[in-house]
Structure formats: structure tokens, C-alpha cells
């Protein structure tokens, strides 16, 4: 089932000459984990915000093309309507805290209260998402007293409590340390395994290569590649465009460790397997 359908999306921020998105098209199936990568200012955040309607409804500006997410035409619906079906998690854990709640438990309730969810339903959902993201034991803490990774997981929990069909994350680990990053990736992969559709913009390409089903590469607002990580990272032109590729892929390319289908390993595990095989051949 197709959950996200983006057709020829073009967008220009107000008072900007260059378009931020320039003819982006792709579609996503239910339960897929899509990674969006690309250099800074390539349109990753803009695309994430376009999936929930913040672009164009919040920023205004000129938009063209079509965005269908979870059966809603995003351009024809208000942000709060779209957000009942699509959750968006931002970069900074700190600014995602509502600031109006004094405990982790109440913070999750903020969005539910706004949506008018009944109290017993709220209690059920809050417990579910807090346990899901391993925050149940911190439920009485002040949100601002959490670590970065915990705060970001709280942001994810708060969005998940709204029970969206699609979860969009805009560089959710860029302000986290490696441990926090692992926490977030593990949580998101778990969700994906449970059938959630995930779209994540991210700079940490090695993590994306390991987890994502497909990778969308953006460059100057255009989509220049969309496919399984191995195929995408096998492209010769990415480094020249400033698109980072996993270090392990780079190394395998230099070593000439090519897989039978012409691609290179994108994870250390794949490379180790490959290397083992290569050494085996050498010895025989």
C-alpha cells in the first residue's frame, strides 16, 4: 500500500530566488524505512516539513506539485489535520518540549489534550508510548531535566501518542552523542518493525545505510537517486556532489571489494563477510 506519494514537488520560500525543492517525486510503501540524505541546504528539512504541511501552510511561499500522505492531500488540509496521521520530530530535542508541562508524563499529554482525546484513552496511550521508548521510569521527571537522547525519545513518544500512520524525523540525532544516536535509531527501527512507515532525514549516512530500506538523495532541491542503500551508494558521482557515503563503502570501493551485482558493501558486517570471502579465495 502506498502511504506517501510526492509528485513533482516544487517549493520556494518567501523572498528567496532559488527554489528549496525543485521537482521532487517519490513514493513510499507502508512499513518502509526511508532515509533522506544530502548536503546541507539540499532541501532535506524542507521536504520533511512538506510531508506534514508546515511547508507551505506555516512558511507560506510558492508551492507546486502534489503531496499525498496517508490518504490526505497535504496542500488542501490544515497542519493539525495532517498531523493526526503524520508525526514530525525535529532536530533540537530542547525546543520540542512544549514548556507548558512539568513532567514527562504530562508532556506526552500535551498533543492529546489539544486533539481532544478522552482521558482514559490518553492514560492508555501515554503509558504505551512511554514504555515503548523506555521512558516509563522517568515519567515524573521534569522534561528539561532529561539527557539529550532521552529528551529526543520523549519528543518521539509525544508524537507517537497521536497515533500517526507515518513518522517523519528531521535530523533527530544531529544534537546527540553516539549513545543518544543509537537510542534513537534503535527506537525508530523497532517502530518500523511494528509496521510504522518512517521517513528520516539524516547526516549520519552509515546509520542510514545500515537501517533504511531505501535512500533518497537530495541535491540542490532535486532528487538525484532513490533506491536501496547499496545501489544508491554504489553511484560514482555522489562524492563529487558533496553527498557523504558510508566510510566502509568508500574503503571497499578503494579495495575493489565489489559484490556480484556491481555494488559495494554499505555496512561493516557486509564488508567483513566480503573480506573473509576475498581472503579465503586468496589462500586457496
Amino acid at each position: 500500500m502506498t502511504v506517501i506519494e510526492v509528485e513533482n514537488l516544487r517549493y520556494r520560500y518567501p523572498q528567496q530566488a532559488e527554489p528549496a525543492l525543485d521537482g521532487v517525486s517519490f513514493s513510499v510503501q507502508q512499513g518502509e524505512f526511508i532515509g533522506i540524505i544530502g548536503p546541507n541546504r539540499s532541501g532535506k528539512s524542507t521536504l520533511c516539513q512538506a510531508l506534514v504541511g508546515l511547508v507551505p501552510h506555516f512558511y507560506k511561499g510558492a508551492i507546486g506539485g502534489k503531496v499525498m500522505v496517508a490518504g490526505l492531500d497535504v496542500h488542501q488540509h490544515q497542519v493539525w489535520e495532517v498531523c493526526q496521521r503524520v508525526g514530525l520530530v525535529f532536530q533540537s530535542p530542547f525546543t520540542q518540549m512544549s514548556g507548558a508541562k512539568f513532567t514527562v508524563y504530562d508532556e506526552v499529554a500535551f498533543g492529546l489534550e489539544n486533539q481532544g482525546v478522552a482521558r482514559d484513552e490518553m492514560v492508555r496511550r501515554i503509558e504505551r508510548v512511554l514504555r515503548l521508548l523506555g521512558l516509563w521510569e522517568y515519567r515524573d521527571r521534569n522534561p528539561f531535566a532529561l539527557s539529550g537522547g532521552q529528551m529526543q525519545r520523549l519528543a518521539i513518544a509525544s508524537v507517537l501518542a497521536l497515533e500517526p500512520e507515518v513518522l517523519v524525523l528531521d535530523e533527530p540525532t544531529s544534537q546527540l552523542d553516539p549513545a543518544g544516536t543509537s537510542e534513537v535509531f534503535a527506537a525508530v527501527s523497532d517502530l518500523c518493525r511494528q509496521g510504522m512507515t518512517v521517513v528520516m532525514a539524516e547526516h549520519k549516512v552509515d546509520r542510514i545505510a545500515a537501517r533504511a530500506d531505501r535512500v533518497l538523495v537530495l541535491h540542490e532541491g532535486k532528487s538525484i537517486a532513490f533506491g536501496p542503500p547499496r545501489q544508491v551508494f554504489a553511484r560514482e558521482d555522489l562524492p563529487a556532489l558533496g553527498v557523504a557515503i558510508p566510510p566502509v563503502t568508500e574503503v571497499c570501493r578503494r579495495l575493489g571489494w565489489q559484490l556480484p551485482d556491481g555494488t559495494y558493501p554499505v555496512t561493516v558486517a557486509e564488508a567483513v563477510q566480503m573480506g573473509g570471502a576475498a581472503r579465503g579465495n586468496h589462500n586457496s
Partner: protein, 254 residues
């Protein structure tokens, strides 16, 4: 972590719902201006102090009362010396004479001052501000207004923490932040620049984050916490409102 003088506790005043405490404070402040004479004012003050004491915050309010005593003393001195209605000398200290009429006016003004203060402290020290705001939002106050009030309570301490970080950063790069007034004023600009910029960026990000959590939706909001109004709250409300009505009626007839 928060900008509030609320003292948590479990006294009967704490357990009262915020709206009742708001009624208590508002009625007491109105009574200050309606009640005639000194004895009634003093009785009202005694009631407010009694509420503060049974809430366990009398000691917390002493510094406030002492701080304000400076104003009260000013009332006595100024009115006692120069009140136009002064006729009967009451006390002579060297060259200055205090008059009876002026001192009584000073007493009246001081009683008013302390009455207003004590009534407000019931609200400030014994009411959780976010509960108060929530109970107002339940009764139709726009939730945007409620959000702003509560968020400010939490955001200002956070901004203070940011200010500390920026100050440390600037200091570590050799900026002088201590010393003469002129040095401090010069340090102000490199401090305000990053603070204002980072606050503006944070504000936009937070606005986006609120938006995706349905903040500007048109649904009727629900509340996680049930509002608990203890039965005796109705008695307290009735008592205060009855006192108000009696005082107004007395004033009107008398």
C-alpha cells in the same frame, strides 16, 4: 527550574481547587476597599494570615511583609507629618511633630497594603500556577493565553541558564564581565546578541513543534488531570461571597 514561589504541600488550602483560592484572593482584595474602620480591616488581615499559617507558609511570607514595611513606615511618617487634615499633635520628637489624624490614616493605608499582600500571597504561595491556569482554561480562557503564562514560568529559568552559558563562553574568550559599571555595560552587548538570536530561533522551532502537536487545531481540548473540587471548597466559596455581599450591603445601607 521554574519561576514560581509556590510552596508544595498538603494542607487544606493546598487541596482547595485553584478557582476557590482565586475567589478568596479577589474577595479579600475587594473587601479591603469596602470594609469600614480599622477593626474590620484588622479582622480581615487576621483571616488572611490564618489561611497562610494553616497552609504552612507564614514563615515564607515574613520576608515579604518585612520588605513592604518600608512602605508602611513611609505612610506613617509622611501622613503623620504633612496630612492636610492634621490637627491634634500626638507625638513630638525634637523639632518634628506627628499628628493623630495623619497617623491614623497611615494605619489605614498600611492595613490595606498588608491586606492586599496577604490575600495575594494565598494565591502566590499556596496555588500551583499551572493548575490555576488550567482551571481557567477549563472555564473558557483561551488556551493560547494559558500556554503563554505557563510556558513563561518555565522558559525564563531556561533562558537564564542559556544566559549563563553565553556568559561563560564570552568570558572564556577573554571578555571582561566584572568590574566597573562601564565594563559591565560593554559586556552587555556581546551577551544580548547571542541570547536574542538564540531565543528567536528557539521560538520559531518551538512554534513548529507546537503546530505539529495540534496546538492551533480547533478541537475542544480535553485535560489529562481531572479537576478535584473538595466538598468544603463550596463552603469556603460561600463564606467568602457571603462576607462580600454583607460588606457591600452594610456599606450601602450604612
Amino acid at each position: 527550574m521554574r519561576l514560581s514561589l509556590y510552596v508544595p504541600g498538603n494542607s487544606w488550602v493546598h487541596r482547595l481547587d485553584p478557582l476557590t483560592k482565586l475567589i478568596m484572593a479577589v474577595v479579600a482584595v475587594i473587601l479591603v476597599f469596602v470594609l469600614p474602620g480599622y477593626w474590620a480591616s484588622a479582622a480581615l488581615l487576621a483571616v488572611s494570615l490564618g489561611v497562610l499559617a494553616s497552609g504552612g507558609v507564614l514563615r515564607r511570607s515574613v520576608p515579604v511583609f518585612l520588605g513592604v514595611s518600608l512602605i508602611a513606615i513611609t505612610f506613617f511618617v509622611v501622613q503623620g507629618l504633612v496630612y492636610p487634615g492634621n490637627q491634634h499633635p500626638a507625638l513630638t520628637l525634637g523639632p518634628v511633630t506627628f499628628y493623630q489624624e495623619g497617623l491614623l490614616l497611615g494605619l489605614k493605608l498600611s492595613l490595606r497594603l498588608y491586606n492586599i499582600l496577604a490575600a495575594t500571597l494565598v494565591l502566590i504561595l499556596l496555588t500551583n500556577p499551572s493548575d490555576l491556569v488550567e482551571s481557567l482554561v477549563r472555564r473558557g480562557v483561551p488556551s493560547r493565553f494559558g500556554y503563554v503564562v505557563v510556558a513563561v514560568l518555565q522558559m525564563i529559568p531556561n533562558m537564564a541558564a542559556t544566559t549563563g552559558t553565553i556568559m561563560d563562553a564570552q568570558r572564556s574568550r577573554g571578555m571582561e564581565t566584572e568590574g566597573s559599571l562601564w565594563t559591565r555595560m560593554r559586556a552587555f552587548i556581546p551577551l544580548m546578541g547571542p541570547l536574542v538570536t538564540s531565543s528567536l530561533i528557539a521560538t520559531e522551532e518551538r512554534a513548529l513543534a507546537l503546530e505539529v502537536r495540534g496546538f492551533s487545531g480547533n478541537r475542544k481540548p480535553t485535560f489529562l488531570h481531572e479537576e478535584v473540587i473538595p466538598p468544603y471548597a463550596w463552603a469556603v466559596r460561600a463564606l467568602y461571597l457571603a462576607a462580600l455581599i454583607l460588606a457591600i450591603a452594610g456599606r450601602w445601607i450604612g
